[in-house]
Subunit: 137 residues, 2 copies
DNA sequence: TCTAATTTTAGACTATGTCTAAGAGGTGAC
DNA sequence: GTCACCTCTTAGACATAGTCTAAAATTAGA
């Protein structure tokens, strides 16, 4: 897996240093929508020497290179999403957890007809409560 | 106008102190989507002694009482919206400005059919560039 | 007017993110 | 292999946004 990651980074013109690969190994996989400090905490488990600045720099680099998206959906938390395809989001108001909603579960009409706005991107932001799923988590 | 505001606050069970009325006079009117510090700067023009804590407390109180909504749409900025009716938002990616989109300019289908989620609220978040409007601002 | 409750204030504190300067590491030329 | 150069990483300082606290000021009621 780590080898794949090095190749993946190089394909985007990113030198695959040990730190960057360790960060990629976690953040490009997860659907947890972690904040930068959560990524830092996680990566330190396998790479205790890694510095906070490196994690922040690397995450911003991944965003610039299209490997990640960053989202600002809840208070004081910039969060990273390894799903770079277009999709919507659901926010659980009790837990703060963010869930991806596949693009075609919802449909938005008339976006292209917005007068006076050049639309580059859009998503639906849904808030509420996730229902407990039998068995799962 | 200030008189109306005092009555408006009392109707929501908020004691209309001079500070609170001064804050209400600005923030319940504007469509600028100001941050808390922008409200503070503005209110200080007419009420130089007002403290930062009071502005923050008052804004949070107004949100709790349903006079304002707060939005977290762009990085590091919690922003207040005097439009408490359901509506969508457009964010200009160059300027960071936020524009309200009336509820019925867009239509979202299948929200109520989301499996496993109890929906309390939703909106469409559109990003792009506002086209210059002849004459206006 | 006196008392009690509420509100405001200044500043300390916390959390999140950025910047900087110095050092470490890798790579190519020789 | 060694040197020089360039990039990356590091620790900590800094910046910004928001919350908390304790004391002072204000308000309302008896």
């Amino acid at each position: 897996m780590t080898v794949d990651k090095a190749a993946l980074l190089e394909a985007r013109g990113i030198k695959p240093s040990a730190q960057r690969v360790a960060i990629a190994d976690y953040v490009l996989h997860t659907d947890e929508h972690p904040s930068a400090d959560e990524v830092w905490a996680r990566v330190k488990r396998v790479f205790p020497m890694v510095s906070r600045a490196t994690v922040y720099n690397t995450l911003n680099l991944f965003v610039a290179k299209g490997l990640l998206r960053h989202l600002v959906l809840t208070e004081g938390r910039l969060v990273f999403d390894s799903n770079v395809d277009q999709h919507h989001h659901f926010i659980d108001e009790e837990t703060g957890k963010i869930y991806d909603l596949p693009w075609d579960t919802l449909e938005v009409s008339r976006v292209e007809q917005l007068k006076g706005f050049e639309v580059r991107d859009y998503q639906v932001l849904v808030r509420g409560r996730k229902r407990p799923t039998r068995g799962a988590r």
